[in-house]
């Protein structure tokens, strides 16, 4: 990190695309129903990432986060992502 860089924090949510089987979500749903915890029709399990970026500005940080999401954190065949900036 250099003097003219600032820290930006992001959260990235990754979830399976519609039509991709999610056996983990299905198992969790069954457990909810068996234990009478609620009337849940569907469960999808995803991933949450917290990224702390060091960039000269917000625009640059967002560009990098988008590239990381598309190139590494998700596989576009099966997953989709959304990201948002967080203060802490």
């Amino acid at each position: 990190m250099t003097l003219n860089e600032k820290v930006f924090k992001f959260k990235v949510e990754v979830i399976l695309k519609k039509g991709v089987l999610d056996p983990q979500g299905e198992a969790i749903k069954q457990s909810i129903n068996i234990n009478n915890l609620g009337n849940i029709l569907d469960v999808k399990q995803g991933k949450l990432f917290e990224l702390t970026a060091s960039s000269k500005n917000r625009e640059q940080a967002i560009k990098e986060v988008e590239r990381i999401c598309a190139d590494l954190l998700t596989n576009s065949v099966i997953e989709e992502f959304k990201y948002y900036e967080v203060s802490e």
């Binding site: 991709v20 089987l21 056996p23 983990q24 954190l73 596989n75 065949v77 099966i78």
Partner: protein
């Protein structure tokens, strides 16, 4: 054997990406290995028409690098499956399956947790049109779409498969179908 941190391939006739839970399947199976320095060289090798086989985790790495279409996701039963598996040779016009008759049933072991092959509808049609489905499961064990156990690239020079042919090379191991695959490779050079 070439270390993953290498950036170039020596002169080779065939690249084999073996199985083995690289990086503990963190993030997604094969995802981090797909970003290894050596994979840029493997991709270049593919682009100049090199022959490549990816087995199990090697198949997962080839899909993550987009050398092969699709993705491998967890088995529908959420279990690690390790057993002999009957397969159907759906395409015998590849350098790896040319020793088999079309539609012949062969037995090769599987050993995976993330073996469910997935592609969306239009991409599946494209794969079928390109004769990209090489091996299919008989009694689909993992939920793979269209019972797919192995696929090949458009140029038919790259093959990825979840079953382990290297574990079926001696009668004492129960099957020699895997040996036949490696013999196919040799007879095609």
């Amino acid at each position: 054997m070439i270390w993953h941190k290498e950036t170039t391939l020596p002169k080779v006739d065939l690249v084999v990406l073996p199985g083995g839970f690289s990086y503990g399947d963190y993030l997604r199976c094969g995802a981090i290995a797909a970003k290894s320095p050596i994979m840029k060289a493997v991709k270049s090798f593919y682009e100049i028409g090199g022959f490549i086989i990816g087995i199990c985790n090697g198949f997962q790495i080839l899909t993550e690098t987009k050398i092969l279409p699709g993705a491998l996701i967890p088995n529908t039963n959420q279990k690690f499956i390790c057993k002999d598996q009957d397969l159907i040779v759906a395409n015998n016009k590849t350098f790896f399956t040319s020793n088999f008759e079309h539609n012949r049933t062969i037995s090769i072991p599987i050993a995976h947790h993330d073996g469910q092959y997935f592609l969306n509808g239009p991409q599946i049609e494209e794969l079928e049109q390109n004769e990209g489905i090489v091996l299919k499961y008989r009694d689909n064990p993992n939920g793979s779409i269209k019972d797919i156990a192995g696929v090949c690239s458009k140029n038919k020079r790259v093959i990825g498969m979840m079953p382990h042919p290297e574990r079926a090379i001696d009668k004492k191991l129960g099957s020699v179908s895997g040996l036949s695959m490696f013999e196919s490779v040799i007879s095609n050079f």
